[in-house]
């Protein structure tokens, strides 16, 4: 290569960038498609935006949204607890416990959520009543299955057990990702199994557990819409009962979609900050620079800047 060519070309010569024709065509097509969609949304009377606006904060929609959120939180908490227990069983040295946990995951993760939901709702077909009878004391209590197994109860049980199957695998992978040296070091300091799990292994596993758990929560939020089939009054069910009367199907589905997307957006933001919190020991610099939300709400401890 001659000297003239190796010198900075911008001084003397005009640089002709590569022309990305296909990129331009693709961009143009995407913009055209977007415009068509916007035009349809704006002009097609079926979308009926005034109706959407009317129902967006409608009382029964709000109640449905509350029910959906309550279901998501309760089920996720239960699933995390059950899943953690199953994951610990799966990692235990006992083969029986191990096989039991494996069987649990196989069944509850494998059977479709909808089928489990209908099954629990119809539990009274198998078990008519629950009762506790002790010798000398007689029957302590007795309840009809149909009285206990309300639609809400059936939804919580079915989806918790189902979701726990996924959570168990996530927690197990997280625990296994913690190097064995951590456990040994803790053991050599006199910490027992339970203490090591609670103070050393699980907190470190959290970094691997949190991102997929965030995905699961978002997934679960939407999966709860299945409960409309057993008449739990959730967000979708609330919308359905309105459009069954008024036939404003599309506007109400838009309302429902809006709220699901809204909650998912909030959850994604929370997930981002939780991930940052559990990844804090990865920072190369001991800096005080932290997320605004975290500082505002003072989530967790803040290490003293050294």
């Amino acid at each position: 290569m001659s000297e003239a060519e190796t010198r900075a070309p911008v001084d003397a010569l005009t640089v002709v960038p590569v022309r990305h024709y296909s990129l331009w065509v693709g961009t143009a097509a995407a913009i055209a498609l977007l415009l068509l969609i916007l035009k349809a949304l704006a002009t097609n009377p079926a979308f009926d935006w005034p109706t959407v606006g009317r129902y967006l904060f409608h009382q029964s929609i709000m109640r449905g949204l509350g029910q959906t959120l309550l279901l998501t939180v309760v089920i996720m908490v239960l699933a995390t607890v059950i899943g953690t227990v199953v994951a610990i069983m799966r990692l235990s040295p006992s083969r029986i416990l191990n096989a039991f946990a494996g069987g649990y995951i196989w069944f509850f993760r494998g059977a479709p959520a909808l089928i489990q939901l209908i099954f629990w709702f119809n539990l009274s077909l198998i078990v008519r009543e629950f009762s506790l009878t002790l010798p000398f004391f007689g029957t302590i209590f007795s309840v009809k299955t149909n009285d206990v197994m309300t639609p809400f109860m059936a939804a919580v049980i079915a989806l918790s057990l189902h979701e726990a199957g996924y959570m168990a695998e996530i927690v197990r992978a997280g625990i296994k990702s913690v190097p064995s040296g951590q456990t040994e070091a803790a053991g050599s300091l006199g910490m027992n199994h339970r203490l090591i799990l609670r103070r050393i292994t699980l907190p470190q596993a959290m970094r691997f557990i949190v991102p997929p758990t965030g995905n699961e929560t978002i997934n679960l939020l939407k999966t709860t819409s299945l409960v409309t089939i057993i008449a739990v009054n959730d967000l979708l069910y609330a919308a359905q009962s309105i459009y069954a009367r008024t036939f404003e199907t599309i506007p109400l589905l838009i309302v429902v979609a809006f709220w699901y997307l809204f909650v998912v957006t909030i959850l994604s933001i929370c997930q981002h900050y939780i991930e940052q919190y559990y990844g804090r020991s990865d920072q190369q610099q001991a800096s005080a620079a932290r997320g605004i939300l975290r500082r505002a709400f003072k989530i967790g401890r803040v290490a003293q800047p050294a």
Binding site: P179, G181, Q182, E184, A185, A186, G187, S188, L189, G190, M191, N192, H193, L195, R199, I200, P203, Q204, R207, Y278, R280, S281, D282, Q283, Q284, Q285, A286, A303, Q304, P305, A306
Partner: protein, 267 residues
């Protein structure tokens, strides 16, 4: 539970012994890694164990605090079994809580530091004293700061392990072990994972500890350290003690041909 003196007379443990091994054997499946190790480490002394990799020296160290169970022989720390109680001529395995309590008296420093990576340096040091010994938080913190001062890291209390160099991490690990006031400290190749220029700062801390009268069992490749600081030197090869003696004489004039060959390669 038998008394300390009863164990001592029964197994012929010398007076003032901190770590006593008599014919310790250890097998993993069909492979016998330790084939009868004898060792006595008097309280306040330093025993250095050298030998080629695969000779069983790390395994022996891990047997001392019962991270590995021995398959045969007697292993006593301060005159008592770590993982068992001797009653009526039988060894009863102790439950997990009791084992943990006894293990807390035996500090261990690992080749790969194994600091708790989700905790700051200070949290690493106060974790076990608070959770295992129930020490009040403020007392544990004061003690931790004093220990960090001692290993020359007083200004690093708020750092996470990942923000420290290897040598600094290992000094924190030593301080963490000291925070439990152990009777004996076990070192498993403490400088092998370090860059050469960081080895010195760790050895300096260890030398300081030895001079303060800490009982130490050190598996190492640092022949210089063994010569300067060690009270006895053990050369292990293929699961047996090939040669033992006073470090200076043994290094200057090894008797066994295998020791001679090993020393010529590492010196």
């Amino acid at each position: 539970m038998t008394s300390k003196t009863e164990n001592q007379t029964r197994f012929g443990v010398p007076e003032n012994s901190m770590v006593f091994a008599g014919g310790v054997r250890k097998s993993f499946g069909a492979v016998e890694v330790l084939k009868g190790i004898d060792l006595n480490v008097p309280a306040g002394s330093v025993a250095c164990i050298i030998g080629p990799s695969g000779s069983g020296k790390s395994t022996f160290l891990r047997c001392i605090n019962h991270l590995e169970e021995v398959s045969g022989g007697v292993l006593l720390v301060d005159g008592a079994f770590v993982g068992y109680d001797l009653r009526n001529g039988k060894l009863y395995e102790v439950n997990n809580n009791l084992l943990c309590k006894r293990r807390a008296d035996i500090g261990m420093v690992f080749q790969s530091f194994n600091l708790f990576s989700h905790m700051t340096v200070l949290e690493n040091l106060i974790e076990a004293p608070i959770m295992v010994k129930g020490m009040p938080r403020n007392e544990a913190k004061d003690k931790a700061h004093a220990l960090l001062e001692r290993v020359g890291l007083a200004d690093k209390a708020g750092y996470y392990p990942r923000q420290l160099s290897g040598g600094q991490q290992q000094r924190v690990a030593i301080a963490r072990a000291l925070a439990m006031n152990p009777k004996v400290l076990l070192f498993d190749e403490p400088t092998s994972a370090l860059d050469p220029e960081l080895v010195g700062e760790v050895l300096l801390v260890m030398r300081d500890l030895a001079e303060s009268g800490m009982t130490m069992v050190v598996v190492t490749h640092e022949i210089g350290f063994a010569r300067e600081v060690g009270d006895q030197l053990i050369f292990m090869d293929r699961g047996v003690v090939e040669e033992r003696g006073a470090p200076r004489e043994m290094i200057a004039n090894p008797q066994s041909p295998r020791t001679r060959e090993f020393l010529s390669r590492v010196l």
